[in-house]
């Protein structure tokens, strides 16, 4: 059992605790620390990211290294409407984000053809557009700021 616990990400673990059979006594994630041998290390592996919505609202979140931007939105239940419809399978472009040029340039991987294919359908496509599901957070990206373009801008109407 302990091994299973160790392999779970913090957010999943929190989820499990919240919806376990034992009631809701263990919601506070800090109290789970003694269970997990890797949790102390995890503490250092967090980075901060900030999603800037088109109305100027800033959604700041803590994220685990290795998570994608889509994971961050889902795990933190960030209110970005319709984000990640296909759940990171590269079949929609609802997780479209726009990066600063310097951030775009320092991402370790270039977008694949498949990612570009989906980006081609996105509204307000820019030269520094990416899909959030394809950006994996590294320590290097701590403090990353991402613009979430407006989705209710229907080109046809």
């Amino acid at each position: 059992m302990f091994r299973t616990v160790k392999n779970l990400s913090c957010s999943k673990f929190r989820y499990l605790l919240r919806f376990n059979d034992l009631g809701s006594n263990c919601i506070d994630s800090k109290r789970i620390v003694p269970f997990s041998t890797s949790s102390l290390a995890l503490k250092d592996e967090k980075v901060k990211v900030c999603f800037v919505l088109n109305d100027g609202k800033r959604l700041e979140a803590e994220a685990k290294i290795g998570d994608t931007l889509l994971d961050v939105v889902v795990n933190n239940d960030l209110n970005i409407e319709g984000y990640g419809a296909c759940e990171g399978t590269l079949t929609c472009s609802t997780c479209h984000v726009i990066l600063k040029q310097e951030d775009y340039d320092r991402l370790p991987e270039e977008p694949s053809d498949e990612e570009r294919d989906m980006l081609d359908l996105a509204y307000g496509l820019t030269d520094t557009s990416r899909l959030g599901c394809q950006i994996t957070l590294t320590k290097d990206l701590d403090g990353l700021e991402i613009i979430v373009p407006e989705t209710i801008n229907d080109a046809r109407s």
């Binding site: 989906m118 081609d120 359908l121 229907d154």
Partner: protein, 478 residues
């Protein structure tokens, strides 16, 4: 307190509630309806009733998205979260214009949003269009996706050559289903009746015929790339169709540029690709409009007479087709018409013109002040173009307008569905969300037996039967 008193009290309280919370009815539980509901739940306190003609939700996500695109259907998870919110109700198997009129809805809701999409095939209006094996792509899609009204589609796949008229994503879906190795399809939730017939298909060669040129194709790059990568299938372009195309490439906007470059790349690979006996051929043809279908004495289609077109105009976006005197005949024993969908006027009071509900950014303008305001979103309002993302954007936009209008409204005196549910109940078996969950479970269980993610039930009667039953009993029977 007597029971009677309690009921009066209840009614008093609920009547009180009516004045506080706006009631919204959404007609059509497809992507537009669900996305609109999603926006409403996040931005205004209101009660939302989602009514749907079919006994099951999700519209084209369930019945349009190709079975080999399961990832696209993941959006169902987001929709399910919306449907499970306490302020949202789903009422399936309720038809606007039959079980309820638009006027009734507008009497009982502060806002009525029409999102019932575009359910009919456009027709060409040419000679012999009613010949056997001339099939609306819409019906074919409904057939392999388990749409109850299409389960008995008559289709003969015993010929070696077929043609698709149209070059949109539906056309490419149809092509992929016809050309994919059957074992690939077995792993999907494609209906068993379609799988059995496709397994016996003799089709080796498939034409994809478009009126205009490579620069005007309507399909998107993902679908094209998928087609080009299809196992045991070779794409053969006509080099003459691509004259001058390469000169245009540098001036195209990025999406058009990339898809054009992909076609050119594939064209250049034409020669190098090896062909075995099993290889199926996919042959796009440009600049051709169907003139008439050629038939034999049994009224079976045997070919299409095509008018050769040339394009006129400077800009690739606005170039127009001009027919020439030249004719080309394509011999084929099966034709799919995939030139688009059109909406229907579901109720006599729907303001309908040119295949759309007339609207101003989603608002339907009319004079009936005492009735709930009327809105339209999705394909019914925009026309049947674009992918789910576009429908999402449009639905959010219209829902935002609804929110703004409702916030400006002083009082809410409408009662919603509960008030006339009993009337509707006598006309149809309403399937609620709990009913859908039983159907969902049942279909997944049935799928497991065949190694598929789901086996859809294709009979409305059977669906309703399962929705009404205790699922445990259903499980024992199966």
């Amino acid at each position: 307190m007597t029971f009677g008193n309690l009921r009066t009290l209840n009614r008093f309280y609920s009547a009180n509630n009516y004045t506080k919370i706006p009631r919204v009815c959404i007609v059509g539980a497809g992507p537009a309806g669900f996305y609109a509901a999603m926006h409403l739940t996040k931005n205004i306190q209101c009660k939302i009733d989602l009514i749907e003609k079919l006994p099951v939700p999700f519209g084209l996500i369930r019945y349009g998205v190709a079975p080999d695109h399961p990832e696209v259907k993941n959006v169902i998870n987001q929709f399910t979260k919306v449907a499970q919110r306490p302020e949202v109700n789903f009422y399936g198997n309720v038809t606007l214009g039959k079980d309820i009129t638009l006027n009734q809805l507008r009497q009982h809701y502060d806002a009525v949003l029409l999102t019932y999409g575009a359910e009919k095939d456009k027709t060409l209006g040419i000679e012999n269009e009613n010949a056997k094996n001339v099939i609306g792509a819409r019906h074919f899609v409904g057939w392999y996706n388990g749409l109850p009204s299409n389960k008995d589609l008559e289709i003969d796949l015993s010929c070696d050559t077929a043609a698709i008229l149209g070059q949109g994503n539906v056309a490419l879906d149809v092509a992929r289903i016809l050309l994919s190795p059957i074992d690939e399809l077995r792993k999907t939730d494609i209906t068993e009746h379609a799988l059995n017939i496709l397994a016996g298909s003799k089709i080796k060669q498939l034409y994809l015929i478009g009126r205009r040129g490579p620069l005007q194709v309507a399909f998107t790059i993902k679908e094209l790339r998928e087609q080009l990568k299809l196992r045991d299938c070779k794409t053969v372009w006509r080099p003459e169709d691509f004259q001058n195309v390469i000169n245009e490439v540098p001036n195209l906007p990025r999406p058009r540029k990339r898809i054009t470059e992909l076609m050119l790349k594939s064209l250049n690979e034409n020669e190098t690709c090896s062909i075995s006996n099993n290889t199926k051929m996919f042959k796009p043809i440009f600049f051709r409009s169907p003139k008439k279908f050629i038939i034999n004495d049994k009224n079976n289609v045997t070919g299409i007479e095509l008018t050769c077109n040339k394009l006129e105009g400077e800009n690739w976006e606005s170039q127009k087709c001009i027919p020439t005197d030249e004719i080309e005949v394509v011999n084929c024993g099966l034709v799919f018409r995939s030139i688009g969908y059109k909406s229907i006027k579901a109720d006599e009071d729907v303001p309908f013109s040119n295949g759309l509900v007339l609207n101003e950014r989603g608002c339907v303008i009319d004079e009936a002040n005492e009735l709930g305001k009327l809105y339209v979103a999705g394909w019914l309002g925009t026309g049947p173009v674009g992918v789910i993302l576009h429908t999402m954007g449009n639905a959010f936009q219209v829902a935002k307008t609804i929110c703004d209008d409702l916030k400006n409204k002083a009082d809410y005196s409408k009662s919603g569905f509960a008030e006339f549910k009993d009337i509707v109940k006598d006309k149809t078996d309403i399937v609620d969300w709990e009913g859908w969950q039983k159907i969902d479970k049942f279909e997944i269980e049935e799928g497991k037996k065949r190694g598929k993610p789901r086996e859809k039930i294709c009979s409305v009667e059977k669906i309703i039967e399962i929705a009404k039953s205790e699922f445990n009993i259903v499980k024992d029977n199966s």
